[in-house]
Symmetry: C2
Subunit: 390 residues, 2 copies
Amino acid sequence: MSEIIPGLEGIVVSETRLSRVDGEAGRLTIGGFPIEELAPRAAYEEVLFLLCHDRLPSQAELAALRSDLRQRRVVPPVAIAAVQEAAERKLHPMDALRMGASLVSLNDSAPRDESRGANLSRGLSLVAAFPTLVATYWRALQGEQAVAPNPELDHAANYLYMLTGEAADAAAVRALETYLNTVIDHGLNASTFAARVIVSTRSDLTSAIVGAIGALKGPLHGGAPGPALDMVFEIQARSLRNTTDIKSEARAWAEQAIGRGDRLMGFGHRVYKVRDPRADVLNRAAADLFKNRDDRAIYEDARTVETEVLAALERAKPGRRIQTNVEFYTALVLHGIGLDTELFSPTFAIGRAGGWMAHVLEQIDEDRLIRPRAAYIGDFDREWVAMEGR
Amino acid sequence: MSEIIPGLEGIVVSETRLSRVDGEAGRLTIGGFPIEELAPRAAYEEVLFLLCHDRLPSQAELAALRSDLRQRRVVPPVAIAAVQEAAERKLHPMDALRMGASLVSLNDSAPRDESRGANLSRGLSLVAAFPTLVATYWRALQGEQAVAPNPELDHAANYLYMLTGEAADAAAVRALETYLNTVIDHGLNASTFAARVIVSTRSDLTSAIVGAIGALKGPLHGGAPGPALDMVFEIQARSLRNTTDIKSEARAWAEQAIGRGDRLMGFGHRVYKVRDPRADVLNRAAADLFKNRDDRAIYEDARTVETEVLAALERAKPGRRIQTNVEFYTALVLHGIGLDTELFSPTFAIGRAGGWMAHVLEQIDEDRLIRPRAAYIGDFDREWVAMEGR
């Protein structure tokens, strides 16, 4: 029997032209572009086109894609009913998204067509449906009626509109767009890999993406930016209570947490040994977003907390050079856009949907069943004992 | 960059005590039992208990498990609505099952509890719900109202009851039970692996099994026993038309098909180099099922076709010793039970549900993220071009 490779760490399972994570150099390439070149400039639909076609769209192509996505925003009524009931029962937003996405198949005009074209169409339907499903769930959670999609607005702007019923300002839309682009793909992360395993049996794209949603839900996926900001809120509260400044509270808090051996949410990453390049992109997005706002204290306090935590980590673990990770800035950006923590994971999914779709299409082209083995450690040759003898 | 291992073939990712597939020796061990020792004797609930607890249940334990499963057969109304609409829209039965299974979360009494116990409970709910979902879909496909679960009947018998509204005879229930036991687990097949990848992020069991359903849908999974019997039906029809005997029609058909290079459904298997042990178990189950029946001609004709196809294969590819695979006998058994071809894949899922559940619990105990890598073959350092410049 071959040796066991826990977690398949270091094993290379396939080729991809979608993204490259270079953890040593702190470099992320998406569709050939350094993330910092692409994410702050592109509309989400442009990056989606890039991943599917390996080039940026022309004006006409972009308009056609936007129009297509707009028409796919309406989901089957039973999907609306399901995510609303999920909200009433306080289910996890990713469970609601999984249910709703699975039901998007009911709109499938050729459900038994497993051609690449049919799967491409399924991908666009899911990308378009995610904001509808998440916003409907969220509004039901607040006891509010769903807001119909707004055909005047593009993908990112329409999501914010469906959450609130009002058009968001341009700075918030730009920040969301940058965030969605930043997280659209990240090598063979666990959810993307799950999607590829599923479709590798020649199943369909919807089945694959529904599986990916399930994987993204898990906290080990790294899609849990909520707690990073909780730390900042806690330090702000202490500072108010103790009438101290944020800097000294942050320092005391960090030293206590490190002393207790707590895992500090928002710091360190399994893959990146140096600074996560997404962190820089989102740090700049947060700075732009908060620039002229009255509530920019949270941004400034977060940066103060970050500095103090990093300093405390360096004192406690010299030379480890632990860095702020993408979750920290994600939390800042999404909070600045006005999203509740509960929406962070499903908003991540709205971004990652494009990467899942492109990976699934790539796997369809590769057409190779993914099927490793397990080492059996159980008994052999047990003999049946009838009920009377047990 | 390490070498690419296509399909992860030969890679061992984890340990399991659930099943062992020994393709060289033609041996399948389930929970320590040779498949031929276990499958024809046990009730499905006994094998489910075996996989979850590594021993057979006592009478009291079996009664408790059966009672528990019985109470979990009722699925949320929106799940009924979803699978019925899926049938109206002629969706694939596995798409319907995926939707319905995903919606079973709505019955979750503690949806944010990710403990092992909560996940065990989710597994039992899904195992119990699968027959309800499949039968409701199937009846809607026939334009018929759903049949409520029958609390007098155990798992396998209740499934047949919900399909038809009538209690099946003991021979059919026994044959189904043997089939479900035979397919309950099979090493790290692609759907089971997908489930383990999903839950490896510390997601929940429902998310994992919904992903597994998606993977099982794919024809490369090997879950497509329908076409094996189509061949027998076609040869029967030719024999009637040409007033020849089955044996000579089968011989001519097999030689033509091999000559054209057709893939012969029902023969050969990726893993088993010698005879698939499940084929023997199901062959015996089919023989028992058809023993005293008026319609046993299909069984006898199928065996004749099998003999002729194997002989033709041996003549065309001497020494390759291609064997009849499990799909061939599966088709015979399920057809003999009275199931339409359309129900073969979801009935496979009803059996495999127990293995998925046990593997997911095993992965929860292992608690190791499964995340291989991909080799990037795309460009680097592309530069952004504004729309006007494209």
